[in-house]
Amino acid sequence: MSPPLLEMSGVRKRYGGVQALDGAGLTAVRGEVHALLGPNGSGKSTLDKTLAGTVVPDAGTIRIDGAEASVGGPRDAHALGVAAVYQQLSVVGDLTVTQNIVLGLEPARRFGFLDQRAARDRAGAALERFAAAFAGRLPLDRPAGALGPGEQQIVEVAKALARRPRILVLDEATASLHKEQVDVLFDVVRELRADGVLVLFTSHRLDEVFALCDRATVLRNGRTVGTVELAATDEDELVRLMVGDAPHQAPRTPSDAPATPSVAAPGTSTLEVRGLSADRLRDVSFTVRSGEVLGLGGLQGQGQSELLLALFGGARVTAGEAVLDGRPLPRSSPAKAARAGVALVPGDRGRQGMFAVRPIQENLSLASMRRRATGRLALRAAAERRAATSMVERLRIKIGSLADPVSTLSGGNQQKVVIGKWLLDRPRVVLLDDPTKGVDVAAKEEIYAIIRGLAADGAVVILNSSDNRELTELSDRVLVLFEGAVAEELGADAISERRLVSSALRLAPGEKL
């Protein structure tokens, strides 16, 4: 018997304190649509990237047709017949659709001068089969950045197909597609399967997986936990594989909270959100009181971050309102929201939350300077230093000196600086957007203690997390979002990792899991 087309084994990859892959692998054959499944953060995208050459693993082997392959970069992967559609799009917005589809493999005449006609022909041929998704008119000469997200996704797929792969990786390629676009994509994938191509397919929509795929390999915490024939498997079993037999995690009770840092403003507050709609948010309503941690769950990108941003005045709200203690929150200005007592700890700390090369002290005191400014202008160096020092102590941030740049800290301590920056402003409402993403385990626990402390001190806490365990440990209630709307509310006794996963995947509630 001939060897399988693709065999990956023992793949490991570490990012700072996070072991993204810890001995993952999979085996798949030609003419197969093979699903790669697992909860958020289980390492699916990282495994795809090691195959496509954009991530170089720390260890592990890849065999193609039985021969060990060394994939040092995307060009090696291309030579082996691998093409990928990434979860984060790799479309260059300023180039046209044609230029994107042929990018890196531009047809050229002598001396490397571009053959524009050949490029258009090739791009047209690749996009042709998706004509239905563009209402029949191929946007070959439009800048790719001017297309809608679904259309850009299709361009990505066309670009991968134009590379004539033997192995096609589709990582959440349907995430931003409409139903009709998905149908077109699935027809194309089935054609490829008939031609002997192996398609690795990752999607959070289990109905798509069952409709399209032959087998599925499941990852959990960076390890492969098994491969199943989908025809002989039901959704329950898949979810069980994805979540594992982890013991039911009791939701926190106020008494578990260890000696907690006291930072939030005292008093009691109520945040009431009524019919809030914005870009990617539909009619969200809920009420949270001081002392409560409200979790936001669901698949990634279902509007959780948008909800937090809308509450922080950073999104264009089209309907509804958020009322804090009877006063509507400002809609259009983060600065006003901050003054009204709202703080947002962003998930993408590198880009939004801090100034990496500036000193720790400056980062800590930035958001709250106006509180200590004398006559709204002058800053007193001593007061600034005192405030920063007290926060470093309360949050147990491990630092050398307040004058060191934040970039010298570990990920967990950097994130504490971002949290501390807002706590110095004594917020009544704390919005946390995936606050422990990429943070190591020990630092996670400390950040959990800080979050519990905030609630215990009477802040309204709303926590979005892509980590279901984090939600079970911290939340009093969880709102599961789907496509921008609240799909389900889980009360304290209903919160478990398994329930979160099945609810996120929109399995009927109350199924015997």
């Binding site: 060009r75 300023d94 230029q99 890196g104």
Partner: protein, 319 residues
């Protein structure tokens, strides 16, 4: 998607702004400079434009790739002093001098490219550092102003063909060279890398090699700038390129190329360079006292940059 529309509009608007600045600069200059439209004045004006136009095209390519080259002026100096030492007044040796200047430019560009792409130093820091190396070498090659360019070259440079100044033809030739380069795969990759280096890498674009190419092309245009300066002044000067670096960056910005990379083109920079040269002219003919010329020039450049930047600001506010 409004963001993208705004962005496209931003580019067009700044194109308009660039042309508007050119029109204003020409009008003011024409009103101040006697006989501005006479062939003699036109010829000598265009003769001073060429070096700045050439270096601006080179800077554009580097900026489009997502980089910046603060050593371009020093490269102009080094290439020009090497060439003037070789030619030493003899027309026979002129081809050799041209080849040497081009070689110097390409070598300096390659060194910058390697430092930026392989050692991954910040372009601003890396090229600022190499600029000292290049100007230091220039001082070794030619410690004090001197040397001479064959008069055939300087005469031809200020000549005109069928009433069209040779210098204007050279500017057209530079623009054509840019148009040819634009059709080359390397320039496509330059745009892709400057637009989104990660996406370009994932799409099989050789990112590091493309960055090196961008600096090499920058060096090539620095060498062309050096040859134009020699033809214009007739002798060598180890400080001649000092002010060209910042002028090249200003020309790129005025021309509407995004300093972030990936968007724009050398057409705007050519106009930007001409605007800057006209501003220097205007200051001269407006009888600004010598001590204040530099100050006024700087203020005008800042004003022009601000005008060029307004569309970008509007875009940010709209987004």
């Amino acid at each position: 998607m409004t963001g993208v529309l705004d962005r496209v509009r931003g580019v067009q608007l700044s194109g308009l702004a660039t042309v508007a600045m050119l029109v204003v600069a020409v009008a003011v200059n024409a009103s101040l400079q006697p006989n501005f439209w006479d062939s003699y004045a036109l010829t000598s004006n265009f003769a001073t434009f060429v070096p700045l136009v050439a270096i601006a095209v080179g800077q554009t390519i580097v900026v489009l790739s997502g980089g910046l080259d603060l050593s371009l002026g020093a490269q102009v100096t080094l290439a020009s002093v090497v060439a003037v030492r070789i030619v030493d007044g003899s027309l026979d040796r002129y081809p050799l001098a041209v080849a040497a200047a081009l070689g110097v430019g390409l070598a300096c560009g390659a060194l910058n490219g390697l430092v930026v792409a392989l050692l991954r130093l910040q372009p601003i820091v890396a090229t600022f550092a190499t600029s000292f190396v290049y100007s230091g070498l220039a001082l070794v090659v030619l410690p004090t102003p001197g040397g001479s360019v064959p008069f055939e070259v300087t005469t031809a440079y200020r000549d005109s063909v069928l009433g069209v100044p040779v210098a204007l033809l050279l500017i057209v030739a530079l623009a054509l060279l840019w148009l040819v380069l634009r059709r080359h795969r390397v320039m496509r990759h330059v745009y892709a890398v400057g637009g989104d280096a990660d996406a370009a890498y994932a799409s099989l674009v050789p990112v590091a090699r493309t960055r090196v190419w961008a600096y090499v092309l920058g060096g090539l245009f620095a060498a062309l700038s050096a040859l134009a300066i020699l033809a214009n002044t007739g002798s060598g000067d180890p400080f001649v390129g000092n002010e060209l670096t910042l002028a090249s960056v200003a020309a790129v910005v005025i021309g509407g190329t995004a300093l972030a990379g990936g968007r724009g083109g050398a057409g705007g920079s050519v106009i930007g360079a001409i605007v800057l040269a006209l501003v220097a002219n205007i200051i001269f003919f407006a009888d600004v006292p010598t001590d204040y010329r530099q100050l006024v020039n700087g203020a005008v450049i800042i004003l022009a940059l601000a005008l060029a930047g307004i569309p970008a600001l509007q875009k940010r506010r709209a987004a």
